[in-house]
Structure formats: structure tokens, C-alpha cells
């Protein structure tokens, strides 16, 4: 029973963080119908920013979030005005390969600067600490904090998109670009804002993740694919969709944990022979494929 509960809890906590990773992708896609392959690389930038600021200034990793957010916002805006703006004129093939080029560029720049070894945080207020939340379930403090902050970020983004004037303009641009322009909304600046907000949310997620996940230049692709799966499940462009889909994908990634539970419960030896942990990410890809084929709109999607 403990195994089941701890798998459930760790899946949900991971899911909350992953939802934050996918949030940026869904904002960008919603506003301008462009799939950002470099999304995972933005996350990697956030992870390195968090790590280096914490180590360089000697402050707690959780205090680096504003720095990471600022870097992400800047990165998104610079990418938009320097590169993405030109891509939008071309066909879809060019957009896909263009953001793929951006991904290769960022990844190899990181490789050139930081080298290929794994780096992890060893110090911090919460790093390495964990506590028992009852019924034998042990949760590491970093994951709990990351999940809590992720929920807070979601609420903030939702309020921003629905309650503020500028957020409403962003939503209007996403719903109908030309109509928004007739209403006097500067759609070009809204695009840049979407890239900035998307970049900031994903780098903040990166600075949270680096608390319990080591970073190397190649980590991006995995998170890009996970974010794609979440966005597909939740519906491209939907913020609440990304939240709930993140939870589902977090649970999917915990399938090896559930597998262990069933193995012990039914005492099934054949189940022990399946190398379940090697399939961890395969389930995410498979889930993505099945969702896309069965319900391309996703759970909450309004775009197709």
C-alpha cells in the first residue's frame, strides 16, 4: 500500500512541475500557432541560471527564481524579435525546422560553455531534506516546494490571462488575430509578450527542477517531448488543460512505481522480469501518439 501511495504522490508532485514546464509551450502555441522545439532548451537555460546564480552568489536556490524568470523573459523576447518574427512569414516546414535550429544552437552553445558533465545542486535550504507525510509516504522537500510554487505560478498566469487588461489582449490575439488587430491590439507586441511569458514560465520551472534533477546540455529534448505530450493531452493553447494534463503525465511517468506495487501485491514473478524503468519515457511518447490520433483537440482544447 505504501508503494502505491508513494508512487501516486510522487507522480502528482512531478506532474505539477511538468505542467509548469508545458505552460510556456501552450501559451506560445495558443497565441501564434507555432511549435517551439527549443522549449526544452529554454528549460535547460533556466536550470543553468538557477544553478549558477545559487552557486555564484551563495544564496538559496529558491531565491534564484526571479533571476531565472528575468533571463527567460529576455531570452524569449530576443528570440522573437531576432528570429521567430522572420519565421512566421514562411511555410510550416520552415517554422518546424527553424525552431529545431534554435534548439541545436542553444544546446551546443551550452555544451561549448559548460561542458558535457552532469551538474547538480548540493546545498540549499531544502536540498536533501525530506519528511514523512503519514502512511509511510516520504516526500522530498524540494519536490514539495517545487509543486507548490508551480501551482502558485499557474494561478498567477490564469489571473493574468483572465483578469488584467494586457492578459485579455493576449487571449484575444490567441482567439482571433485579425479581429484583435481591428480592435487596436498591437498583435506584434502580443507575440513578443507571449514568447517572453512562455520563456519566463519555463525558465522558472527549470530553476525549480534543478533542485532535484541534475543538469547537462542534452537534457532539453526529453522535456520538450514531455511538454508536447502534456500540451497535446490538455489541448493546444489551453492553460487549465496544461495543468490537468500535467498531473496525468506525471502519473504516466510513475508507471514503473505502480508496476512494482502490482508485482508485490500479486507476487507475480514474471512482472519483475520486465525492465519497466527503461520504458519510463516510452509511455509518455506512446500516450502522446494515442491522444493525438484519438482526440487531436485534447481534453480542453479549443484549437484544432
Amino acid at each position: 500500500m505504501e508503494i502505491l501511495l508513494s508512487a501516486l504522490v510522487s507522480g502528482l508532485l512531478l506532474g505539477l512541475v511538468l505542467a509548469l514546464v508545458a505552460l510556456g509551450l501552450t501559451i506560445i502555441f495558443g497565441v501564434m500557432d507555432i511549435v517551439n522545439f527549443a522549449h526544452g532548451e529554454f528549460l535547460m537555460v533556466g536550470m543553468y541560471t538557477g544553478l549558477l546564480t545559487a552557486q555564484g552568489l551563495g544564496i538559496d536556490p529558491l531565491l534564484t527564481l526571479p533571476v531565472a524568470g528575468a533571463v527567460g523573459f529576455l531570452l524569449g523576447v530576443v528570440c522573437y524579435f531576432g528570429f521567430i518574427k522572420f519565421l512566421l512569414r514562411g511555410p510550416m516546414v520552415a517554422q518546424l525546422l527553424g525552431t529545431f535550429g534554435l534548439m541545436l544552437f542553444l544546446r551546443n552553445l551550452a555544451l561549448l560553455i559548460f561542458g558535457s558533465e552532469d551538474r547538480a545542486l548540493h546545498h540549499g535550504l531544502l536540498v536533501g531534506k525530506s519528511f514523512d507525510i503519514g502512511m509511510g509516504v516520504i516526500v522530498s522537500a524540494t519536490k514539495l516546494a517545487a509543486a507548490g510554487l508551480s501551482v502558485a505560478a499557474f494561478v498567477a498566469v490564469w489571473l493574468f490571462m483572465n483578469r488584467t487588461r494586457i492578459g485579455k489582449a493576449l487571449t484575444a490575439t490567441a482567439l482571433n488575430r485579425s479581429a484583435a488587430r481591428y480592435m487596436g491590439i498591437p498583435t506584434e507586441r502580443m507575440n513578443a509578450l507571449a514568447w517572453g511569458a512562455g520563456g519566463a514560465s519555463v525558465t522558472i520551472a527549470g530553476a525549480l527542477i534543478v533542485n532535484f534533477w541534475s543538469v547537462n546540455p542534452f537534457i532539453g529534448l526529453l522535456f520538450t517531448m514531455i511538454a508536447f505530450a502534456i500540451v497535446a493531452l490538455g489541448g493546444f493553447g489551453s492553460v487549465p488543460g496544461a495543468f490537468f494534463a500535467g498531473l496525468v503525465v506525471g502519473l504516466i511517468m510513475e508507471i514503473p512505481g505502480f508496476w512494482d506495487f502490482f508485482m508485490f501485491t500479486f507476487n507475480a514473478d514474471w512482472m519483475a522480469k520486465v525492465p519497466m524503468t527503461s520504458f519510463k519515457y516510452m509511455w509518455v511518447y506512446l500516450a502522446y501518439f494515442v491522444i493525438m490520433v484519438v482526440r487531436p483537440r485534447g481534453l480542453f482544447g479549443w484549437k484544432h
Binding site: D33, V35, F83, F86, L87, G90, P91, M92, V93, A94, Q95, L96, L97, G98, F100, G101, L102, M103, L104, F105, R107, N108, L109, L111, L112, G115, S116, P217, L221, M225, F228, A229, A232, P275, S278, F279, Y281, M282, Y285, L286, Y288, F289, M292, V293, P296
Partner: protein, 334 residues
């Protein structure tokens, strides 16, 4: 007979194209006679392989406009079929290669049917997902050597062996892949004038109109996907015999899929010469940049940074590729 005549008929190209293409073909044929380094030879083989991959991608991605970013799984299927059959049952290349093509095409039908219900971005990302699932499966499947991969040992199969395609010198591999290359060009020349080729261009321009003209859009796409797969799988089988040591990471990674699409994109998707031009520029650039900047200057990753910059510039400013520029210049002259 009609088919062969159509395949050999290049008369709708301007004379300049034919002169350039003909002289390049002669150059490729006599290349092994000239003194060359083994590095240059390896680059040439890579170039021919990637032109063929690009030609395959060009059918579905260029003429059909469906951005397929999962071709690496078929490279893997071809490569693994050949290697497994050779290592386990001693079945030579020329028999296992068609078997590999059959497997790959079957798998492409299984995947193509659901995949082509999707469009645009959704299709592109779904193809990536399928490719990664297959790679993950191969990494834990012991029969095909799991993540370690399989090796064709030169002791067990002493070179030279034409049936099993095991040679010591690269020249023989060059001759074989050059043969495939010419066959590929002739096939593509037939394909672009075939019924399916015209149907695909209609689908690319406007799917609804194509459907209203009575084209079975879904089936046309699946058929073309299978053709692209067959191309890729043949070269995958060749790759296995040439490299002699295959593992999931080299043969089925996303980078290979993207590289394949990039060849055709850079040269000009949807044109006969596009993939060849693209591979002719990218492959030498890649291997020489790696040699000079990566190995000599010790800057890891800088070759890929330059590479990424090229991709970004091309996709932002000339999405129709180099062939697009050539045609623009020509139109201006007239």
C-alpha cells in the same frame, strides 16, 4: 517499358541543368580513380547515403508537403533486419535488404493509417513520438543486442564478400551506393511525373480541392509514406554493412530524422535536385567542420552551432531552399 522511358526522360529540364548534372555524374563515376584521402571517401559515401535519404523524404515531405520527422525508425528497421539476419542466420545482404524493406513498409502502413489523420504540426510531432518509442523498445530488446547494439565481426565474415557486402576498402561500398544513387534518381524522375506525383502536389496545394477532384487523399499519403520508407530502409541496410556496428543511438536518434528532412529542405523540397544539393552542401560542411573545429581546435559543439545557424538562416529567409533561389534568379532573367 513506358515507365522506363519516362524515368530516362529528363527533357523538361533546361539544358544547363542537364550539363551540370551530367558532368557531376561523370565526376562521381571517376572519383575513385583520383588520389583521395580515406576521409574524403567516407564523406562521399555519407553524401550519397544522405542524398538517398533525402530523396525518400522528398516524396512525402517535398512533393506531398507532410513534414515527417520520424524517418530514423525506418533506418533502424532496415539496419537491424540486415544485421540480425546476417549475424544470427548468415543470410546475405542482397536477401535481407528486401526483407528489411518489407518489414519497414509493413510498419509504415501500420503507423501511416492513424498518422495521416493528423495534419501539420500534429503530424510532425506524432512522427517524432513513434520514432522515439521504437528506439526505446530496441534499447531494451535483448534479441537485437539492446543498447549495446550488434556488431558484424570481420573475423566471422572475412572480406571481401560481395553477397554479404563486407569489404575492407571503402571503394567497393562507394560503387554500391553510387549504383543505388543513380537508380534513386531515375525512380524520382519517374515519380515526379507519375499519377501519384501529381496527386501529391495537388494535395500539397489544397487538400479539400484535391479531395473534391476524386483523389483518395488518405491512401495517396500512405502510399507515398511507404515509398519514402522503402528508400530509407534500403540505405539503412547499406549503413549496417558499411558501419558494421549498429546501436539504437546512432541509427534511430531524432538527429538522424531531422538531418534527413534538412537535406531536402536546404536544397529545395519538392524538386528533383533539391536533396542532392542539400546533402552536397551539408555533409561535407558537417564532416570538415567537425574535423577542423572539433578535433583540431578542441572546441566541442562549435560545428553544430554553425550548423544550427545555417538552419536558422535558411528557414527564416529562404524556406524554399537553394533550388528556390536558383529558380528566382532564372525567373528574373526571363
Amino acid at each position: 517499358m513506358e515507365t522506363l522511358k519516362s524515368a530516362l526522360d529528363f527533357s523538361d529540364f533546361p539544358r544547363l541543368d542537364l550539363v551540370v548534372a551530367g558532368s557531376l555524374a561523370i565526376l562521381f563515376l571517376i572519383f575513385p580513380v583520383f588520389p583521395h584521402s580515406s576521409f574524403a571517401m567516407a564523406t562521399m559515401i555519407q553524401f550519397l547515403m544522405f542524398s538517398l535519404y533525402g530523396m525518400g523524404w522528398n516524396t512525402i515531405g517535398g512533393y506531398g508537403g507532410q513534414v515527417d520527422l520520424g524517418k530514423a525508425q525506418y533506418v533502424g528497421i532496415g539496419a537491424y533486419t540486415t544485421t540480425v539476419m546476417l549475424v544470427r542466420w548468415d543470410i546475405p545482404f542482397w536477401f535481407s535488404m528486401p526483407v528489411g524493406v518489407c518489414f519497414a513498409v509493413l510498419w509504415s502502413f501500420v503507423l501511416g493509417y492513424p498518422l495521416f489523420r493528423l495534419k501539420g504540426h500534429y503530424f510532425a510531432i506524432a512522427t517524432i513520438a513513434t520514432s522515439l518509442v521504437l528506439k526505446d523498445l530496441f534499447e531494451v530488446w535483448d534479441f537485437v543486442g539492446a543498447a549495446r547494439g550488434l556488431e558484424i565481426s570481420p573475423i566471422k565474415f572475412p572480406p571481401p564478400d560481395f553477397l554479404r557486402l563486407i569489404f575492407k576498402e571503402d571503394v567497393y561500398y562507394y560503387d554500391v551506393i553510387l549504383g543505388f544513387f543513380f537508380v534513386g534518381i531515375l525512380y524520382m524522375n519517374w515519380f515526379r511525373k507519375s499519377r501519384l506525383g501529381f496527386q501529391l502536389r495537388a494535395i500539397k496545394d489544397n487538400e479539400e480541392v484535391a479531395r473534391s477532384l476524386g483523389i483518395n487523399v488518405h491512401w495517396a499519403k500512405i502510399k507515398t509514406y511507404a515509398i519514402a520508407t522503402a528508400f530509407v530502409s534500403v540505405v539503412g541496410s547499406f549503413h549496417a554493412c558499411y558501419i558494421k556496428n549498429i546501436e539504437p543511438e546512432d541509427t534511430m536518434s531524432l538527429d538522424i530524422s531531422i538531418l534527413i528532412a534538412l537535406m531536402a529542405m536546404l536544397g529545395g523540397a519538392g524538386s528533383l535536385w533539391g536533396p542532392i544539393i542539400g546533402a552536397g552542401i551539408l555533409i561535407p560542411l558537417k564532416s570538415y567542420l567537425k574535423e577542423w573545429l572539433g578535433a583540431t581546435a578542441g572546441l566541442i559543439g562549435i560545428d553544430l552551432i554553425l550548423y544550427a545557424l545555417i538552419i536558422m538562416v535558411i528557414s527564416a529567409f529562404e524556406p524554399r531552399g537553394i533550388w528556390g533561389i536558383v529558380q528566382k534568379v532564372r525567373r528574373r532573367r526571363q
